[in-house]
C-alpha cells in the first residue's frame, strides 16, 4: 500500500505527495502528458529532442544542472511513445532547489539557438549509437511500420529518420513547448522525507503563478483491426538469423491487458518459461528467445523475438514457435503455472516499490492513467485473471491475421 495525498493548483497542475520519513532523500518527478505519439508524422523524434532541450537553460536560470549538483542532487529524464518524465533526487533539506528549477523551466525555456544546435547533434549520435551502429538496431523501426498502418506508434521515440531531427527549428521548439508543457498537462509528484503541508506551500510558491495553458485534448487516429498477416524479410550484415513476431494486444486500461501481460510471462518470463524451455533447451532451435511488451497506454504489441541457432532453417524455427502458441490456444494452462506468473508479478511489484524513485515515477504514471490510486489496486487486476481468460485471450491474440513477422536474415556478403 503506497500512501499519498493529492491536490490540484488553481492553474490545473496536479500534485501528488508521497511521504516517506525513513529516507533522508526526496524525489521530485514531473510528468508531461506528451510523447512521440503526439508528433507530426513529418517531424518525428521531436518529443525526445525536446526532452534534451529542457536541460539547455530556462528563462531565469541559465544552467539547469549546475545548481542541482551544487545541492547534492541528480536528475534524468525519459521520453516514451506516450509521455515525457523528468525526475530529480536530492537530499530532502535541499528540496526547494528542485522546485525552483522545475518551475522555472515549466514557466518558460530560454530557447537558445546554441542549445538546439548542439542537442540536434547529440540526439543524432544517440540515434546512431542505439539504432544504426548496432546489429539488429533497426528492427523496431521496421516492425512499427509493419504492425501499425495508422496509429502514431508507427514510429519510435527517437524518430523515423535523422533528417527529422536535423531540420527541427527554434519555432517548432517554442510551439511545442507552449502547447504541451503547461501546468494543465503536467503532474508533479514529490516523495521522500517531506510533509504534505510543506509541499503545498512550495508548490503554490513556485508553480502557482505559471499560466495554466490550454488542456491538450488527444485525438489520435485509431489503428484499425488487422485483417491479414504482415510479413517482411530483411537481409543485413548480422552474424545470426533472427525471428520477430508481434501481435496487437490491448490498451493499458483494458481489463484484458492483464491476461495479455501474464501470457507474455508464461511464454517468456524466466528460465522455466515455455519458449525458453522448449525452444532453447529441448529443441535447441534458438540460442535465446524472449517474449515481452512495452506496457504502452494505447494498444501495444506482444513481441516474441529470438536468434536462431546457426544452421536452423527459419521456417522450422517459426513452426516451432507457432506450435507453442497453438498449445496455449488449444489447452488450458495448469493452475500452478498461472499461480507462478502471478507470484512473479507480485514480487516484481514489491521490488519495484522499494525504490523511492520508482514509487514517485509510478504514482505519476498512474495519475496520468486516471488516478494515482490505481497503483494500489494493480495487483488485484492480475489476481482476477483465470486460466480460462488466458485460454480465451491466447485464442484471440495469436490469430494469424493479427501477426506481424520479420525474418531477419544474416547476409554476410553485404
Amino acid at each position: 500500500m503506497i500512501h499519498y495525498n493529492k491536490f490540484t493548483l488553481d492553474n490545473g497542475l496536479r500534485v501528488v505527495v508521497h511521504e516517506d520519513h525513513t529516507t533522508p532523500m526526496a524525489v521530485v518527478n514531473v510528468l508531461y502528458d506528451v510523447g512521440a505519439r503526439d508528433e507530426d508524422p513529418e517531424r518525428t523524434g521531436f518529443a525526445h529532442l525536446f526532452e534534451h532541450l529542457m536541460f539547455g537553460g530556462s528563462i531565469n536560470i541559465p544552467d539547469y544542472d549546475e545548481p542541482l549538483q551544487m545541492a547534492g542532487g541528480e536528475n534524468n529524464a525519459f521520453t516514451t511513445n506516450d509521455l515525457t518524465n523528468y525526475y530529480i533526487q536530492l537530499p530532502a533539506e535541499n528540496i526547494e532547489t528542485a522546485f525552483w528549477l522545475e518551475s522555472d523551466r515549466m514557466l518558460s525555456l530560454a530557447f537558445g539557438e546554441k542549445s538546439l544546435d548542439v542537442q540536434r547533434k547529440v540526439v543524432c549520435e544517440e540515434f546512431k549509437e542505439h539504432y544504426i551502429n548496432k546489429p539488429y538496431g533497426d528492427v523496431w523501426h521496421k516492425m512499427r511500420e509493419l504492425a501499425y498502418s495508422t496509429h502514431p506508434y508507427r514510429w519510435m521515440t527517437i524518430g523515423k529518420e535523422l533528417s527529422h531531427i536535423e531540420t527541427a527549428s527554434l519555432q517548432d521548439v517554442q510551439a511545442f513547448f507552449f502547447k504541451y508543457y503547461r501546468p494543465v498537462n503536467a503532474i508533479l509528484v514529490v516523495g521522500g522525507n517531506v510533509t504534505t503541508a510543506q509541499v503545498k506551500v512550495l508548490a503554490e510558491k513556485w508553480f502557482g503563478d505559471i499560466p495554466s495553458g490550454e488542456k491538450y485534448v488527444r485525438r489520435l487516429p485509431l489503428e484499425p483491426a488487422q485483417t491479414a498477416p504482415h510479413k517482411l524479410e530483411v537481409k543485413a550484415n548480422v552474424p545470426l538469423d533472427a525471428l520477430y513476431k508481434c501481435y496487437h494486444i490491448y490498451p493499458r486500461l483494458d481489463k484484458r491487458y492483464y491476461a495479455a501481460d501474464l501470457i507474455s510471462d508464461i511464454l517468456g518470463g524466466g528460465s522455466s518459461s515455455r519458449l525458453h524451455q522448449t525452444l532453447v533447451k529441448e529443441k535447441k532451435l534458438f540460442s535465446n528467445i524472449e517474449c515481452y511488451h512495452f506496457g504502452s497506454i494505447d494498444a501495444g504489441l506482444l513481441t516474441i523475438e529470438g536468434k536462431l541457432v546457426k544452421g536452423v532453417k527459419m521456417k522450422d524455427a517459426e513452426k516451432a514457435v507457432q506450435e507453442e502458441l497453438n498449445k496455449l490456444q488449444q489447452t488450458v494452462i495448469p493452475e500452478r503455472e498461472l499461480q507462478k506468473v502471478k507470484n512473479r508479478v507480485e514480487s516484481m511489484l514489491a521490488f519495484e516499490d522499494m525504490s523511492l524513485l520508482n514509487r514517485a515515477n509510478n504514482l505519476a504514471f498512474y495519475e496520468l492513467l486516471g488516478d494515482a490510486s490505481l497503483m494500489n489496486t494493480e495487483f488485484d487486476n492480475y489476481e482476477a485473471v483465470t486460466t480460462a481468460n488466458i485460454h480465451e485471450e491466447a485464442g484471440i491474440i495469436f490469430n494469424e491475421n493479427n501477426s506481424n513477422t520479420i525474418y531477419y536474415y544474416a547476409d554476410n556478403h553485404l
Binding site: G73, E96, K121, C124, E129, P135, G269, S287, N343, S347
Partner: protein, 426 residues
C-alpha cells in the same frame, strides 16, 4: 520572489553520513553471515560470495561457466525443475562471476524464504554439470559472442583491457570461441569443488528476515563441512602491459561511430591517492556536469555521452575514459580529451566547481545508502576487500576536504597524455 536567485542550500560538508553498522552471526561450520535488517519491507536479499572469479581459473572461461551452470541441474533435479520451483515463488536467483569473486543472489518475498533456501542449498551444494547443459551453454554463448563482436564498444573494451593488463592476466583475458569450445564438464567440476566450499563462503543478508533465519541458514549451509577443500591460496599474477600506446582498429568498414578509449593504470584502492582520484575522476568525467561531458557533448555535440571511470579491481586499478563518437569526430574527441587532461594539470580547479563536485558526490553517496539492500552492498565491498568503516569514512573525509592544490598535484602526477593508451574502434 526573485526566480533568478537560487534558494539557500545545505552544503555537503554539513551532512553527517553514517554507514549503518551490520549485525553478524556465524553458522555452526564457521560461515560468517552479515546482516542489515529492515523489518518494514516484505522483501529479502541473500547473497553467497565465493572467491571463485576468473583470478582463480587455470583455463579461460572456466570460472564463468562453472558459476553459470551450477544452477542448471543437480543430481536430484533437472534445470527446468529447479528453475520452475524457484520461479513458482516469484523469486529471482541471479549468479555473477567477476574477476575476484563469484556470487549467487536470491531476491524473494520474505514469506517464501523458508521454501526457497533448500532449493538454493541444492544449487550451491549439489550441481551436476551435465554434458548436455554445457553443450547448450557453449553454443549459445558463442552465438552471443558473435553478435557482440559486431559492436564497436564491446570490441574496444576487450582491446583496452588487453593493452592495460596483458592477454594472459585475468583482467585482460577475454572470451573467445576457442575458450568456449575447450570447456569440459570435468574442469568445471574440479573448479567447483575447489572454490565453492563452506570454508570460502561468506553470506550477506538484507531486508526483512524471517524469524528463524539463523536456524534456516544453519540447516541449509551451516551443518556440514560441504566441499571440504582446505584453504585457498590466492596466486600472484603479474600484469603485462602493451608497449605500443596508440591503436586504430577497423571492425566494421561501414560503421557510423567509433568507440574511443583513453586509459592508463592507476594504483589500487589501498593506495592513498585512490580516494583523491575518485574526486578528480568525477571532475574529469564522472558526472553529467563533468569537464568531458560539458566540452565534448554539451559544447561540441560529438557524442551522446562521455565518461571516465576508475576500475575497482583488487590488484591494480585503471582510469578509463570512454565514449562512442561520430566516425568523423573520433580524432577531434581524443584531442579534446587531452586538452581537458592538460587543463587539470595546468590550472587549479576553481573553488565553485570543487564545491559543486563535493556536494554532488556527498548527495550521491547519501542516495546510494538509502535502504537495506544498498547498505549491505557497501559493507560487502568493504568486507570482501578486507576493509572496514574507517575506509569509508576516510573517503568521505577526502571528498569534504581535498584542496585544489592537491587535485592539481594529482593531475600532474597521473594525467599526462603521454602515459595513456588510446584506441579507436570503428
Amino acid at each position: 520572489m526573485n526566480r533568478k536567485i537560487a534558494p539557500a542550500i545545505k552544503d555537503a560538508v554539513e551532512f553527517d553520513i553514517k554507514l549503518k553498522p551490520y549485525e553478524k552471526f556465524t553458522l555452526d561450520n564457521g560461515i560468517p553471515v552479515y546482516v542489515i535488517k529492515n523489518d518494514e519491507q516484505d522483501t529479502l536479499q541473500l547473497e553467497l560470495v565465493f572467491p571463485a572469479g576468473s583470478w582463480y581459473e587455470q583455463e579461460n572461461m572456466v570460472a564463468a561457466a562453472t558459476n553459470f551452470l551450477m544452477k542448471n541441474g543437480s543430481s536430484q533435479h533437472s534445470a527446468l525443475e529447479i528453475n520452475e520451483s524457484i520461479e513458482y515463488y516469484g523469486a529471482y536467483l541471479n549468479r555473477n562471476s567477476y574477476h575476484e569473486n563469484a556470487t549467487y543472489t536470491l531476491h524473494c518475498l520474505t514469506r517464501h524464504a523458508e521454501n526457497l533456501l533448500p532449493l538454493l542449498q541444492e544449487v550451491i551444494q549439489d550441481p551436476a554439470f551435465s554434458a548436455e547443459e554445457l553443450a547448450i551453454y557453449q553454443q549459445n554463448m558463442k552465438q552471443r559472442l558473435a553478435v557482440n563482436l559486431q559492436k564497436c564498444d564491446f570490441v574496444a573494451n576487450r582491446y583496452i583491457d588487453r593493452y592495460l593488463f596483458g592477454e594472459f592476466h585475468p583482467y585482460g583475458r577475454v572470451s573467445s570461441m576457442e575458450a568456449y569450445d575447450a570447456l569440459q564438464p570435468e574442469s568445471l567440476r574440479a573448479f567447483y569443488y575447489k572454490h565453492y566450499t563452506y570454508s570460502n563462503c561468506k553470506i550477506f543478508v538484507a531486508g526483512h528476515l524471517p524469524e528463524n533465519m539463523p536456524d534456516l541458514l544453519n540447516r541449509c549451509f551451516g551443518s556440514t563441512r560441504w566441499n571440504d577443500g582446505g584453504h585457498l591460496l590466492r596466486p600472484e599474477l603479474p600484469i603485462q602491459t602493451a608497449d605500443e600506446r596508440k591503436y586504430r582498429i577497423f571492425n566494421d568498414e561501414n560503421g557510423v561511430q567509433g568507440a574511443v578509449r583513453v586509459a592508463r593504470h592507476f594504483p589500487n584502492r589501498y593506495h592513498p591517492d585512490f580516494p583523491k582520484m575518485m574526486v578528480l575522476n568525477t571532475i574529469l568525467g564522472g558526472y553529467f556536469g563533468s569537464r568531458l561531458m560539458s566540452n565534448i557533448r554539451e559544447e561540441k555535440g560529438y557524442t551522446y555521452g562521455i565518461h571516465s571511470q576508475l576500475y575497482n579491481f583488487r590488484q591494480v586499478s585503471a582510469l578509463n575514459i570512454h565514449t562512442e563518437a561520430g566516425r568523423d569526430v573520433c580524432e577531434a574527441t581524443i584531442e579534446e580529451i587531452y586538452k581537458e587532461l592538460l587543463r587539470l594539470q595546468n590550472e587549479p580547479v576553481p573553488a565553485e566547481e570543487l564545491s559543486l563536485v563535493r556536494n554532488y558526490m556527498i548527495g550521491s553517496i547519501l542516495g546510494d545508502l538509502d535502504g537495506a539492500f544498498h547498505v549491505i552492498q557497501r559493507w560487502k565491498s568493504l568486507i570482501l576487500n578486507d576493509l572496514d568503516e574507517n575506509y569509508f569514512h576516510n573517503n568521505i573525509n577526502v571528498i569534504k576536504t581535498i584542496t585544489a592544490e592537491e587535485l592539481q598535484h594529482l593531475a600532474k602526477q597521473y594525467l599526462s597524455p603521454a602515459e595513456f593508451y588510446e584506441l579507436v574502434v570503428i
